[in-house]
Symmetry: C2
Subunit: 317 residues, 2 copies
């Protein structure tokens, strides 16, 4: 993703449209020219969890104020993520899987924004129904559309590392099914609130952390069923074997990701698995996948969401 700065061209270029990934705890926003080049980018901690329904228009207007004049043609604002949740701006009801990602745009909701040039469109998330198999996503479906738009021939398993890592089965532009693994959030609540916190606070040491990570990954991959009986090893290893905090943090992370990837083993196949996510977490998943002989390649999450919002804008009626 390249950001073309306004100052480079000397005059303020208005965006042709605006892309927003509005998550639970923060949001990212981009202004794009007609060719898809990024004119400006912004971030904010005004995620869904902090906002009342009424505060969305002002947050959006504030973030684009310096880039959009008071008068002029309407500007599409393509939004994905938690802004479309029931407790968000305007609910965009889930599309059930199997779902055609080309239908995201036609199921978008249009929150009213009186007296503004901005024309917001919130894309729906996906849900999976059926007792014992329920699941939901909001935001990742747009990344999947972005992946499908960039790689039209791709079909297969996609892994999306994050707080709740999604594993989706994609068939062209169709999402067949998916699962959310709470791995990232489990790591965080254990790190902050469990007895393991006593073993995880201390100086970082990249080499020790990497060593702990590999040992945790190996153990998790070998026997993902034993996770609950292995978590306490983090504490015990520091008490009994005096493992330092950096090793323990790597070990816990490896144990969790290893258990998650290990449980997917039967579905991994031989095709390269796209990893859509941040660099650090994607690296851990790539390592886990490599340890069981699976190939992967990283796709930047922001690139994917931008490509998905652009594809949705193009496919809107």
């Amino acid at each position: 993703m390249t950001v073309r700065r306004q100052t480079e061209v000397g005059v303020a270029v208005e965006p042709a449209w605006i892309a927003v990934d509005w998550g639970t705890s923060n949001l990212r926003l981009w202004g794009l020219d007609p060719t898809g080049a990024v004119l400006f980018a912004g971030e904010s901690d005004q995620g869904m969890a902090r906002l009342s329904r009424e505060s969305y228009p002002a947050v959006l207007a504030g973030l684009v104020a310096e880039h959009v004049a008071a008068d002029g043609p309407m500007i599409d604002v393509m939004i994905c993520g938690m802004a479309g949740a029931r407790q968000g701006w305007t609910e965009a009801p889930y599309l059930p899987v199997p779902a055609d990602l080309d239908h995201l745009a036609s199921h978008a909701v249009h929150p009213p924004l009186a007296g503004s040039r901005l024309r917001p469109r919130i894309l729906p998330g996906l849900c999976q129904t059926g007792a014992g198999d329920e699941d939901v996503m909001r935001g990742e479906e747009t990344q999947l559309l972005g992946l499908a738009a960039r790689h039209p021939g791709f079909s297969g398993l996609v892994c999306m590392p994050g707080t709740h890592c999604k594993w989706a089965q994609l068939d062209g532009r169709r999402v067949v099914r998916f699962t959310s693994a709470m791995t990232g959030e489990v790591f965080e609540v254990l790190r902050q609130h469990s007895v393991l916190r006593h073993s995880l606070n201390g100086d970082d040491d990249p080499a020790l952390r990497a060593q702990g990570l590999d040992e945790g990954l190996a153990l998790g991959l070998t026997s993902p069923d034993k996770l609950l009986g292995r978590l306490f090893k983090v504490r015990a290893a520091s008490l009994v074997s005096e493992r330092p905090a950096a090793w323990c943090a790597g070990f816990l992370s490896g144990l969790l990701v290893g258990s998650e990837v290990g449980s997917q083993r039967a579905d991994l196949g031989h095709d390269e698995i796209p990893l859509i996510g941040g660099a650090q977490l994607s690296h851990i998943y790539a390592r886990a996948l490599a340890m069981v002989g699976a190939r992967s390649r990283r796709v930047d999450a922001a690139d994917a969401v931008l490509a998905g919002l652009a594809a949705a804008r193009q496919s809107r009626s």
Copy 2:
């Protein structure tokens, strides 16, 4: 356990010895006559986590003050649990497994208590060494000694449900090996701090909770390797299938205990498995074990710890 009240005999009967289970967040204490009958019992929230090293003597003295006169013969106070941790009263270094439980008493530490009739003895916990296999317990070893004292012929797997559920392989009075599963603590941190909390707060309904529990147990027992990919079902089931909070709480509890018990399946065997723990949690483990065809019987945790402290007192030199 029967508590004989002092007022029944009309005069204050002094205890022959005092038993204390001093845990992380609270402690339980009993005064016993020479036959082992309980004269009085007490509880307190003055667990290890709240206490400085210096405050133990006053807490102990305060709890027995009305039962012990200023003058008289020395009174043994047999203590197990976190009072013997490094951050407790006086560290009682772990005995490594395989460990003979008859050696607990001879490895007890004797914190000084000047000018008092109380003679405290803190029993050590057990540790397991070896990279990747580390584990520790403090308190449960005394329950195991109690079980061994009450059932001299028993050998086999013992399950001790709790915040950290211990699974120990007992061979007479010898602990061969053990594992701690963080199941109870994982439930608590997820319930209080994760996104699942939004689905777990609401009216209780025992029938719905029992239904959720059984569905969670079945799923956990069938595929314990898929735990991380199943936790989010709690949230998704309330969003997509409008499952009420009571069902979700039962389902989460069942999923976790089912995954834990499912991972032990190869070791369950055909013998009756003692469950040493509280009534409610032991019931859930008993149900999980029954669902995979294993037999169990409940042993009250307080009875076991009292029997263990009594056995340790008898075996002290």
